[in-house]
Amino acid sequence: MLLEAKDIVKEYKSTNTKALDHVSIGIEKGEIVGLLGPNGAGKSSLINIIAGLLTANSGDLFWEEKKIINHKLLSYKIGLVPQDIALYPKLSAYENLNFIATQYQIKRKERKLRINHLLQSLGLYKQRNKLISEFSGGMKRRINLIAGLIQQPELLIMDEPTVGIDIQSKQAIQHYLIELNKEGVSMLYTSHMLEEAQNICHRVAIMDQGKIIVTASPGELIKHSPEAINLEDVFIQLTGKELRD
């Protein structure tokens, strides 16, 4: 197991809510795991704890069977693509990526090589000197993804990486993620795009009300759910039709 979260509990005292209620999940090397669930299910809390942005009230994290004590030591191994465009709008794409790369102590020559390679891979090389504020939504999402890959992580955690973008950008990102996975990068990925999850995930975990209800491959889930023809049907059967706003 590359990464394992065991019995994670997270409570927010300010709102008196239990976001994660004894959640356990594992990601194998080379696996793409989709974390699906309605709004408020606890997906973002879980990935923020795994990425080291939040502290769990209880529970443990393991990296290759070893307990994670200092998250900073895993910074090189775990990449995060947050839901927000976590970039400086007044810096160009290259300046943003160069700054992020310096935070991983990557030397100048290597930085240049990696950034240019990633920009080319996601079709943004020509726009590298444009300010982020001048980018379209899809372009920003692609730069956001590159920023999470700059340190060449073994595990890429993504929080809705394709939300609010056009089909072309979505497809470009999906294709790139599949290519990346072929190179050995494992992924933990949250999305409301169930079709997308069905296409690229080896395994999905459906969460609701702070708990993981089920974990299986998309095919198995559809196969074992009566009257379900796709992952969306399975999702509705498991989480219900009630609105979660």
Binding site: L53, D84, I85, A86, Y88, L91, F99, T102, Q103, Q105
Partner: protein
Amino acid sequence: MIAFFGNIKKEVLLLLRDKAGLSFLFIMPIVLVVLMTLLQDKTIKKLQVEQLDIAVVNLDNGIVGKSILKGLKKMKIFHIHQQYHGDSLTLALAQKAVAKGNFQVGILIPPKSSIYTRRIISNEVRKQLPTIGTQIIPDSLLPMVDIQLFFDPIIKGSLRKALHSSLEQLMANIRTIIVFKSYTTTLQKITGKSNIGKFPLDRFSLSESEDLGDKSLKIPSSTQHNVPAWTVFAIFFMVIPLATQIITEREEGSLMRLKISPTPYSIPLIARICIYSLLAVIQAITLLLIGKYLLPLMGMQAFDIHGNYISFLILTLFIGLAAAAFGIAVGNIAKTHHQASVFGSISVVLLAAIGGIWVPTYMMPDSLLKIAQWSPLNWSLQGYYDIVLKADTINQLGGIILKLGLFFMLNLGIAVIYGKRKNT
């Protein structure tokens, strides 16, 4: 070091691309320095006067008028005028000229002041040493000798008091001479001896030793006040763009990238403090050059720091550190841009007002002076005053630098505590 220089580059780029923030930090203080120096120049010059221009309307032809004029001329602090635009001064003309600000003070010595003074004193002498054939007049029938003073309203209380006591002293001298004369004349009549001497007034003197080194009461000129004052204000105004940038980083998620990177949080913090402290030095040098070269072209006094460039730069660096830490604290305490800009601007303006930036502290009442001592802008301004007015070196600015250093540490501590709270 790669991470540190990465942060330095990022901060420089963000600062250079924040045109509104830069104009706040550079154009606003330049305009304020020029404008306020010009506006306050005349007023401060009046407060600074070491020689008062006095319009004297002398309607007395005797010893009183002559002695007052002679006595005032003898004192180096008064410049006596008895004419205005070629015309002899009348009471109306003198009042008009003082109201216009051409003279700071007007003095009216009424007609027959000498005759009346003599009459009053002789009457007193007669009471003490009655001689045959003389008549004592009741006090209620004696005339009044009323020398009138009128001031330009801008003249400070201390200068008014100085003139009052000078005149009192002159009048006392005149009275002493007349009293002596009256007694000797009367005694001569009584004793028949003719031995009228002169009162040895010149045997009594008041001498003044040199200043003992405390130059704290020296009043700065308009340039000496406004250039450092608006420099301090401009440096502390960095609180607003700095706090806003911290909130933007937090809201837009770029702070998250710093948190998940292996770089310790102290590195971006130190880089930010370095850049903003350097910015403070650039602001101060810019305003120093404006004071030194632009203000003289506009007829103002040139700003001079007596070659104490090292002291000036070190003090500025500490002011920059204090301001940067304050901005970082505001950015960590505030939850929104609105909160940061409102709290940042109000706090800086208030600290500037009580710190003697808008109105110099020597014009403040004592109660406000006590409050002013709590403003870091006041410490900073006092530091610059010490360099400009006393030509103090960095060794003599230790107290101020210590205060600014403590303010820096305190704010940094607050920023770290609030930052950690927001992260959990």
